[in-house]
């Protein structure tokens, strides 16, 4: 139903880069809301740490995207002056923090994808992409280990914690399919980078999630379940508008200012 528009190489790379950058950005923004409100001081620090890593990565992707776009923009113009339909993050990362079980499950699903994705991209023939991926994967290796470990401990913790993480998994599952979508942009850019497209990450992702869920005594939802899509094309859930309104306020309200 959508009008197909032929993309040139730069547009395609721009789309690809914002997909990477926007997911990191929006997820870190969500974690920022929890500042000082985690379930334990150690978690506050860990959350802030992950959020910081993700902001840093978002900056690298978006700054590169802005250069590819070549319109004189920068990371901040992309982060603060695009509206919902221009964001390319996964629907998963814009879902609400919910209880801490939801926050962790969202993070675990994303981290696992992120790890395999960066692993692939760090072999990219596009030197800049490879460089960003190599820098990021060191951080994300820690993220995915941390969330996997917490899912195991909570799944195999108390009855309540088990129920909470299981509910979170069931709730968020339908937003995981999109991470493996291989549309035109994905296929062409993966080919140009000499790496496997996102669809190739699905099996390793399912394997890792399945392994952690087994150890956590959790039931993994069906891989064949119906999946929501749209984030990669800028069709989001109703959450994102509110996230952006808050995040972008100052840049929008004081357009001439330097900060």
């Amino acid at each position: 139903m959508r009008n197909r528009v032929e993309m040139d190489m730069d547009e395609r790379k721009f789309a690809f880069l914002t997909r990477m950058g926007d997911s990191a950005l929006i997820l870190s923004q969500q974690l920022c809301k929890l500042c000082g409100k985690g379930p334990a001081l150690e978690e506050d620090m860990a959350l802030a740490n992950v959020a910081l890593d993700l902001i840093g990565q978002a900056r690298l992707w978006l700054q590169h995207a802005a250069e590819v776009q070549g319109a004189g923009g920068d990371e901040d113009r992309l982060a603060f002056l695009r509206d919902v339909h221009q964001f390319r993050n996964f629907l998963l990362v814009e879902q609400p923090n919910g209880s801490y079980a939801d926050t962790l499950m969202r993070q675990f699903f994303f981290d696992t994808w992120h790890y395999f994705r960066l692993q692939a991209l760090s072999q990219s023939t596009d030197a800049r992409i490879a460089e960003i991926a190599q820098k990021s994967i060191k951080e994300v290796t820690y993220h995915v280990r941390r969330t996997g470990d917490l899912i195991v401990r909570l799944g195999d913790g108390t009855e309540e914690s088990h129920a909470r993480v299981q509910a979170a998994a069931n709730e968020l599952w339908m937003y995981t399919g999109e991470m493996f979508e291989a549309d035109q942009v994905e296929l062409a850019e993966a080919a140009a980078c000499g790496v496997a497209p996102a669809s190739g990450l699905r099996q390793p992702w399912l394997d890792h999630v399945g392994q952690v869920f087994a150890e956590a005594t959790l039931t993994m939802p069906s891989p064949d379940a119906w999946m929501q899509k749209g984030g990669l094309q800028g069709r989001h859930t109703e959450q994102l508008g509110y996230i952006l309104a808050e995040m972008q306020f100052l840049q929008r309200a004081y357009p001439a200012a330097q900060w």
Binding site: K37, P39, L41, D44, R59, G157, Q251, W259
Partner: protein
Amino acid sequence: SPEERAFQQRIDEGVKIEAKDWMPDAYRKTLIRQISQHAHSEIVGQLPEGNWVTRAPTLKRKAILLAKIQDEAGHGLYLYSAAETLGVSRDELLAALHSGKAKYSSIFNYPTLSWADMGAIGWLVDGSAIINQIPLCRCSYGPYARAMIRVCKEESFHARQGYDIMMSLCKGTPEQKQMAQDALNRWWWPSLMMFGPSDAESVNSAQSAQWRIKLFSNDELRQKMVDQTVPQADYLGLSIPDPDLKFNEETGHYEFGEIDWSEFYEVLKGNGPCNRERLRTRVQAYDNGAWFRDALVAHADKQKQRSADAPRAA
């Protein structure tokens, strides 16, 4: 008692007291109160700044602010650990905070109303904190002194970052400059009050001084803050909201107007703009996290049980 005399002599000689050393009960209690109050302040202090992380105007500023708040959580951790060396648990200390029995710095009961407040807090609040804390790096209790050394190093970094925000705003548009001035207007007097009431009013000061856990008087420290800050405000082109402020050429100090202590006591009593909200946010975070903490304990117990049940597997 002879123990007390020996204890005081060590202090007078500048020898650090360590966790396992004998110490008077009152010394222990005073330190627990002071260190835990400081720890609580770090924890609650995350909230007013946390209020602007999601709205930071650039990604770089967002990262810097978030890193700062993370440092505060870290300071909380060191300080709770330092208090724990005195024989009290973090859970007991948090219970005292949550019940309202223990205090935290009243400065965090003021709202953060604009981005400039992130600058003003760094510049004025962290600036005051450092002035308060630097002497404590030399205090008589070893674990506390060592924690303060780490804390102060990071705080001075935070203060510089805060001043940098103010600088950007003051070099910016007229709206930004006004934002900065407004923040200074709101945070100036509360920052001066951070040093506590005038020495004449202050109880326990003499004993704490003798024990070397209070090395300067409140008024001395406050004066230091004013002397340090006024030229910085001048450099920013901002005016201190005190019509009585003037430089005394003879003393080399700034004289400043009367502090409205009634406001201070009202905030202390719970009537600050955000007392209820700050405490409630922390209590809710803690209560909502109970299932999480319980689960980690339960899992650890299970794991222990499993290794005990399967000795051959080892």
